[in-house]
Symmetry: C2
Subunit: 465 residues, 2 copies
């Protein structure tokens, strides 16, 4: 006989009957193939309406606990033993986090103070208009067409890149776009990489199963000679501002690289232009893509440095051959990037806000860089080594006190300052001239934080000469 | 001698000098290794200040056109021939698009009328507070912790899923998360898939290099027998509402599948719970994950159907063994999902808006489904075949007029109505009972559009009995 053992207030009556019958089936009170009382009978015995029992039986049938046999009634389905369901696991109350440093010289942060919060909020509000159905719909794989148009126009003006909206692929940041690229390059395609290199790009190409050929860079970036006899290869380079060493590729090397790509079979150049917007003593260098007329350059850009790392929007500009491969491979898929943010970014670029923001930020970062340089020179004097061109968001620094990279990082951390090792960026063993160097990013720090950080570094590193 | 040939108004003087020297180098007027006039001399001859020439020379040096030799002056760097730069390619004026249907029975659209635009806009505005640095920072790979907490609580209440924020991975929709999953499963892991199946999932696993084992489903979903002797295998299933056939997996089959997974080596079940929220006659069925106590179920959910396809946010709930593999593989990477939208979604769930929205939408979709069913029955009478349980956003329909799938689609399109073939979802040849069936989604259509669409389908299909 079915009785309601545990009345749980706050649950509808039919649900309590459903739960009770489930318990009875699991507990063996109701055996497999056993016939249940008719709805009318059970309703009468529980003192509820037939509709209530009907709802409970319907739920049990839909989940497969009961089967309804026409003209005969409801029967218990045979089940293998089911283990008891558990209570909800306890949740930790605070987000797990790394030990937070007092001053963090991360190279991945942007200035939080000068972000155009008001403009962005206004664009969000205006873009998210009532009843704009387009905002709910799946975005085509290449991304919002208006945003692609805005990026194409910006790229021509600012970076000399030749493209139309049709050859642009919007993606969820550089790592995602490198994955997309890996799919459309032949599987057998080797990736030649600068050594040292942006290590996440290296991990992605490795993970995607490409052979990786590390090429040690010189003062002009990636040399062409080690590539001379290679075919079916894509060369990943950061010509505007090599990561992490900061050298830029002069025009002569650029032309050599292009000629090399044109001369062989299936040769491509992946130009990661990740922070080209920030050059402080001269204007940004024109892109490699701008002087490519053989369809050899794949251009990769993001808004990670120029707007914010949390805005996961980047883009590829594909040459014609790879664009067809992309269209074939990705037909039927959707964009991974939120439509709303694509639209907001589009208005940000179109309205001239992006250009104004870049101009402002160049001044801001130039100031921070000068401050950091001066503070370091004052703290460490002539033994200080500094590397990295007048660009980007970081410096390579060696205090010249004989400490190793890991000693420098550990001593800094003891004083509450996080600085970053550069050895993870080397695919091969780190060469002697870069030992004892660490990476100091300054984009996310205020002037006071920079000064405080350097003072603490002096304590951390100064004693051990 | 350097002269300014083309004065371009609107450009600073130093830039015009820079451009002229570049032209002279490209044009051979200035030869490789040729010495340039001193800054002072050139300034005098052009009638500009030395600072202006200095800026032009600095830019040319930074790009590698000139080299500065201390005490000796500026020299032209040797360059291989560079081809002429081209004008900006012409842009098409309108977004390229598919032929738009008058009525589109797409299964991928959501109702645009009942979207909580005002709430979402308010949450956007409130979330994007001035000076909230957290919104600019890179999100850790698993996603925003507060959102993960909100999802864990929702999942337990609504789907019986057992998890904490720590075992949730936020990703940019189902396709992205299946890719992530593919990385953390062993490469040698076979993926067993329901046949027919959500074809993008199939494409992704194939592309990622997994062997795929198609298993024909029966009326209870995926049978366990074909898997009996398999090890090192993950089974991709949609137990709440099979896509595209719409069957749901009864409790007995669920238990069998779990027991099978527990009995072998490296066996996992991927539960894609893609539209479990929408069941119209009974309550949503509890998830497979809720009765798994062997750590065998990988739970996949998205907000594609429950909020909007344009919101690219989904999540995985990983069992402990795979969670460690994930953490190892993804350390150092960032989330692909915009932080802002993660925060807004978090507030949407926490504030109870999500639950209210689901309740409202169940009623809305139930009404649309009933309307479509009634209109189809009236139009096609007793020869009409209809399949798909009382759930989801689509029906499988065959008018019973002997037309093939492609004839049905083409005839509908001629009348301006888009209906969808189901053969693309079959990995093997489509079985006889599903020929002559097409897929009609109704989520994005209004009542009037549904009625108009069916009237046009009657014209398209009715004549040819």
């Amino acid at each position: 006989m079915i009785t309601l053992e545990h009345k749980t207030p706050g649950h509808p009556l039919y649900w309590q009957i459903y739960e009770q019958i489930k318990r009875d089936i699991h507990g063996g009170v109701l055996a497999a193939e056993e016939k249940l009382p008719s709805k009318r009978k059970l309703a009468a015995s529980l003192g509820v309406s037939v509709t209530t029992v009907d709802a409970a039986y319907a739920q049990l049938v839909s989940e497969g606990f009961l089967s309804a046999r026409p003209q005969r009634g409801f029967f218990v389905c045979p089940l293998e033993e089911l283990k008891k369901s558990q209570p909800r696991p306890a949740e930790t109350e605070k987000a797990p986090g790394e030990k937070k440093a007092e001053v963090d010289f991360s190279s991945g942060a942007v200035d939080p103070e000068h972000f155009p919060y008001n403009t962005w909020r206004r664009l969000l509000k205006n873009t998210f208009n009532e009843y704009d159905e387009g905002l709910l719909r799946r975005t085509p794989p290449q991304g919002d067409w208006e945003l692609r148009r805005a990026i194409a126009a910006y790229l021509y003006d600012a970076r000399g890149v030749h493209c139309t909206a049709d050859s642009i692929i919007i993606g969820a940041g550089a790592e995602h776009l490198l994955q997309v690229l890996s799919y459309i390059l032949e599987n057998s395609c080797t990736i030649a990489m600068e050594n040292p290199v942006y290590n996440r790009a290296y991990q992605i190409f490795q993970r995607m199963g490409h052979g990786v050929l590390p090429v040690d860079i010189d003062g002009a970036g990636m040399p062409v000679e080690p590539l001379a006899d290679k075919q079916n290869i894509a060369v990943y380079v950061t010509p505007s501002h090599q990561f992490p060493l900061g050298v830029s590729m002069p025009i002569s090397r650029r032309i050599k690289l292009l000629r090399w790509a044109e001369a062989g079979k299936n040769r491509y150049i992946i130009e990661d232009d990740y922070d080209s917007e920030f050059r402080y003593l001269t204007r940004p260098l024109p892109s490699l893509q701008s002087i490519d007329d053989g369809g050899k350059v794949i251009y990769l850009g993001t808004f990670t440095k120029s707007i914010a790392p949390s805005l996961r929007i980047g883009f590829l500009v594909l040459p014609p051959a790879l664009l067809s491969a992309y269209k074939e491979e990705y037909a039927g898929f959707g964009s991974l990037v939120s439509r709303l943010e694509q639209r907001v970014l589009c208005e940000f670029i179109r309205g001239g806000h992006f250009e104004r923001h870049l101009n402002k930020m160049r001044t801001v970062y130039r100031g921070k860089r000068a401050l950091l340089e001066r503070a370091l020179r004052e703290a460490f004097g002539p033994s200080l080594g500094m590397q990295g061109e007048n660009a980007g968001h970081h410096l390579l620094v060696s205090p010249g006190n004989g400490m190793s990279e890991s000693e420098l990082c550990a001593a800094a951390m003891k004083q509450g300052v996080r600085v970053y090792p550069i050895s993870p960026y080397f695919i091969r063993e780190i060469p002697a001239e870069h030992r004892g160097q660490v990476l100091l990013g300054y984009g996310g720090l205020s002037g006071e934080e920079i000064e405080k950080g350097v003072a603490l570094l002096k304590k951390a590193w100064g004693m051990q000469r």
